[in-house]
Symmetry: C2
Subunit: 317 residues, 2 copies
Amino acid sequence: MFTTINELIKIQKKIAPYIHETPVMSSEYFNDISGCKAVFKCENFQKMGAFKMRGAMNAVMSLDDESRSRGVITHSSGNFGQAVALAARNLGIKAVIVMPSNAPAVKKAAIAGYGAEIIECEPTNEARASVTARISKESGAVILHPSNQKEVIDGNASAAIELINFCNDASTELDAIITPVGGGGLLAGTALAAKGLIPEIEVFAGEPSGADDAYRSLKEGVIQASVAPHTIADGLKTQLGECNFPIIQKYVNEIILVEEDEIVSAMQIIWERMKLVIEPSSAVAPAAILKRPELFKDKNVGIILSGGNVQLDKLPF
Amino acid sequence: MFTTINELIKIQKKIAPYIHETPVMSSEYFNDISGCKAVFKCENFQKMGAFKMRGAMNAVMSLDDESRSRGVITHSSGNFGQAVALAARNLGIKAVIVMPSNAPAVKKAAIAGYGAEIIECEPTNEARASVTARISKESGAVILHPSNQKEVIDGNASAAIELINFCNDASTELDAIITPVGGGGLLAGTALAAKGLIPEIEVFAGEPSGADDAYRSLKEGVIQASVAPHTIADGLKTQLGECNFPIIQKYVNEIILVEEDEIVSAMQIIWERMKLVIEPSSAVAPAAILKRPELFKDKNVGIILSGGNVQLDKLPF
């Protein structure tokens, strides 16, 4: 049973004190080149720099007192580790983040700065999962998943609720909404919120060709494995999960595949013309619109820019 | 006689339909490392990407019908050319922009895109000025100066008015305000507006050590020549002008010199932590605060981020 829109609105209000209501931006230039009327929900300005804060905050707030006393654990080389660390600190809960030993020092420093304990492991998916499971078993810490968990999906839905409320205040109704898709937590949450508030809205996602498990899964009707994904949009290499898939199957009109050069080109447009620092994963949604403009022509389109955590010494331009 | 605050408020309202009321941002991280409470006026989100739009718009709106029929001309290798082109197009006025032949193609394209005529000249200050004067004499086009002109200064003042109004709405009164200084048009306009609205406010500027004519001028009490300025903050290489200097002398508490590595470091902080694409000139103001934090400790400080036009293939990090 999917979470209802009334429940999602309650969750959005519940987490609101701990997150930013991020700005909504637009660009005449993007409208000119795409042919649609786009509004960008700027989750790059979210606390810790990504929408992940929303799901993490709802996940920790959903724990009962006994679970909170045991603390939380997750494995992450990226944004979700920071999000859990900060969300847990907000509530005075202990957090353990399992990170691959080769994770960038800047990410380790950010997580340590939020007061979480870092456990290093071998840089493989298997090691990350097994170390996390072992520590959870020993300490009782509650495992949080970056995308494939109901509370995470429900928290992520708050970005779309804020965006649609913003548009309502401006007397604009969205015809379509689009996110990037990796594990599916942002897409599923966005779909639940958007369809709940605007039943006739179209829901799209962009996905890198080099990490196309969601595209293939939607086509086949069964979750397809993500094997050796390769893309600059490193936040989207995650495996699509079984909590997200039924929501995506029910509500998503189409997943649009984009190539690496299209991601970089869209990223450059958002940086140069909109002056927004976004990470490559965020550029996948506008890249999808520019790839298939006929799907969006003259429509009011909401775009979730998922985050802005980049290493400035490793830019693709 | 300086323009009064009542006149500046009228001008701000007059140009408002043609410019963006840009967002105001803050950063817990910047407050932590600086010790002040900073609000950033994001002119990188202004039309054509810089505050220059404000002064250019007021300058063209201030022309009488006869002058408008003759059109406007300016020489610029940077933001002011784009600002004049767009401001003139807004009113259906012909604009000629004299550009050095080695100006980046992307800037020429932007100016041509706004419908202005581009005249190329030798890449020297002398050639730019003499070509501009000759064409103005032949065609009657009105010469606009990027910084050293009353109407430009008065238009630039609107950014500070918006920022102070925003702070008032948030029940915060600024104790200090800071801009970068090059030709002095932004600093002078900001000083007029800020002192007019908050007489006890302190006004500061940041200036690159490699282009320190405003610093030297303030110290000597006479305008000092800018000879062979060299700085990554290329928007600040302009000579301080005699329209701006008396305002700066009267109202500016101190001009703070910053080194090149301090500019790049501040720029990186704003990009990485605030997710804002700003140009090096914009980073000079936050760099000045980080250099002299004792001047700003515990104060509410307004920072004008002047613009965001950068070439992504020529970043310093």
